[in-house]
Amino acid sequence: MTLTATKLTIIEALNQALATEMERDQRIVLLGEDIGKNGGVFRVTDGLQARFGEDRVFDTPLAESGIIGTSIGLAVNGLRPIAEIQFAGFMFVAMNQIVSQAARIRTRSAGMYHCPLVIRAPYGGGIRTPEMHADSLEGVFLQTPGLKVVLPSSPYDAKGLLISAIEDPDPVIFLENIKLYRSFKQEVPPERYTIPLGQAATLQEGSDITIITYGAMVPVSQQAAHKVQEETGASIEIIDLRTIWPMDEEAIIKSVTKTGRAIVVHEAPRAGGVNSEVVSIINDNCLYSLLKPVARVTGYDTPFPSPGLEDSYIPTVSRVVKALRQTLED
């Protein structure tokens, strides 16, 4: 029997990845708030409790520190927990467990114990959610050695990356962009496949300028690139980092050495963020190839604003177009 690929949203692709892995690996358990009967507030775990039972898919009391703290114990004692935090903003409640504990178990125990834990959480703005439902936290986790940080931008990647995250022997923060969740469908093979963590994807090749981005800014960058290509005939390369830690330095260096121009685009605030790390990598490795300073298009250095103001916070196609034009100027 040959299985045929069907078109799935990111939500459906993640659901499929979870089901596939739970079928294969009895050690996997899912825990979080409203993930059982309700299937999670975004339905990523829809139907999984009915299929795998309440011992493997369970709702917890509302306590993020409790969810992550006990997940650490589950992981240390041989299970493969996948914890859902209902919105990434609530990971702050569990920060001690994530940053000071999950990320350090291996170091602290000199490798005797480790923590194969996946923490999934929706993040990002653009759909008018209340306070703390839209924040992008990846910059905080970038500053946390011991964690891997994954941010898929497509259904295909979401499935392959989640399976890799589950297989990974160390804690992985898996951030799912809310706006992308249902925004488009893509063919996703029904069989199991993995995408290595730490490997960027070159979405389109080009020779004049590189856009380095990830998450919800991938489609925004693609639209901007399209516009500038039409306008100026420039040849634009787009790199989707997919995993911001480990970061695919090779992909960045290779591309920027070739194009000599780059812009970095993300929704998270600017100061000390992923953009800063990317610019440093360029600075360390391909400074002499650069023809123009690297431009950065990011959220501002303010708290993520109230929903009524988010449209002017989140980078737009026109902001990316402007950065491209400026960086392409001689």
């Binding site: 708030e33 059982g36 509302l62 520190s65 609530f90 303010t302 929903p307 009524g308 103001l309």
Partner: protein
């Protein structure tokens, strides 16, 4: 009477509106008629916000229908110098404390509060989203009142789901240790999105936790406005007289969805909803007032019409109130913006102008 020894929630009025105990001191029919009207203000405020959300004008929002009696108890027992620190579903309690409805409506538009609509400080901390976090703020506020020797009590609202958070338990502990003049009302509406109360704690009642934190715990029928008032009043008096905090569990029910983004039919038995609809707090007070001969269907129709148009007016004021410009996110991050932020704001303003020119 020690309500913490009760096995069932304390009631003064049964669901049919029949008196089971004495009318709390100081309550007149006049007062009860005011509360009855306030119940409908809260409910229509809730309905109106849902309607506005359906029109794409309000953001995602959590209706509070069914919890009006608890809300009124929480607000009505306070004096102007007292504080209210509630959850997102305690908007009714804010109203009962005197927080203007238009200011609450404005908040539902998806901007920070508009102080000019609040007017004089009402000592109501804007509700926030991260569960249980406000309970610690409330205890801190109460500790400050004690340290400053102010005769102010802090009313703290928190949900049954939120009671599982570490912060809630830390708040109770601090309140106990520092004898904070605080009343913590745990609004047990049966559900935390799809998670039933039974899944939050193996304890029969959440207020049993009070014992472990060295304070009295009380259990009250949260749909009985007289019982809520009586129990909360007693707790506020204790706090005001330096006797420390009290935990009150008010047993009520969330009639509607968790928020406008939720579908409760996925997890809730319609029979359960039906059971609680018969225990609707508005119905109970109405039955009592009718029984007293001070109310009838005609008056009821009239007041509901009146309240509805009042609520619409308040919404109109809020929804026509000026909102911050698109660069508003920079305002109020600090008292004085950092040089970097000033630069970013300039950048944004230039971009917005550019976009306006292009259009």
């Amino acid at each position: 009477m020690r309500k913490d020894e009760l096995e069932t929630p304390y009631q003064i009025m049964d669901p049919a509106g029949k008196m089971l105990g004495a009318m709390p001191e100081g309550l007149t029919n006049q007062k009860l008629l005011e509360w009855y009207r306030l119940m409908w203000e809260i409910r229509y405020y809730s309905n109106k916000t849902v309607a506005l959300q359906r029109q794409g004008r309000s953001t995602t929002w959590g209706p509070l229908n069914g919890q009006e009696a608890t809300a009124i108890g929480m607000g009505a027992v306070l004096q102007p110098q007292d504080w209210m620190v509630g959850s997102y579903r305690d908007a009714g309690a804010y109203m009962a404390k005197g927080y203007p409805m238009k200011a609450l409506f404005y908040y539902t538009r998806g901007f920070s509060i508009a102080p000019e609509l609040v007017g004089q400080d009402k000592r109501c901390l804007p509700y926030q989203i991260v569960l249980a976090t406000q309970t610690l703020h409330g205890v801190g506020i109460a500790m400050a009142s004690r340290i400053k020797k102010e005769n102010a009590v802090t009313m703290i609202g928190v949900g049954d789901g939120a009671s599982s958070e570490g912060d809630f338990n830390e708040a109770l502990n601090f309140a106990g240790v520092f004898k904070a003049p605080a009343v913590i009302v745990l609004v047990n509406n049966g559900w935390a999105i799809s998670t039933p109360r039974s899944h939050q704690s193996a304890a029969k009642y959440l207020m049993h936790r009070a014992v472990g934190f060295g304070m009295p715990g009380m259990l009250v029928d949260g749909n009985d406005v007289l019982a809520c008032y009586s129990v909360m009043k007693e707790a506020v008096e204790r706090a005001r007289h330096g006797e420390g905090p009290t935990l009150i569990e008010a047993v009520t029910y969330r009639h509607g969805a968790h928020t406008t983004a939720d579908d409760p039919t996925r997890y809730r038995d319609p029979k359960e909803v039906e059971y609680w609809m018969q225990r609707d707090p508005t119905l109970r007070l109405k039955n009592y007032l009718v029984e007293q001969g001070v109310w009838d269907e005609e008056k009821d129709r009239q007041i509901r019409e009146e309240v509805e148009s009042y609520v619409n007016e308040q919404a109109d004021i809020a929804y026509n109130h000026p909102t911050p410009g698109p660069d508003g996110m920079f305002t109020n991050t600090y008292e004085k913006l950092t040089p970097r932020m000033l630069k970013q704001r300039e950048e944004l303003r230039r971009e917005l102008n550019l976009e306006a020119e292009v259009k």
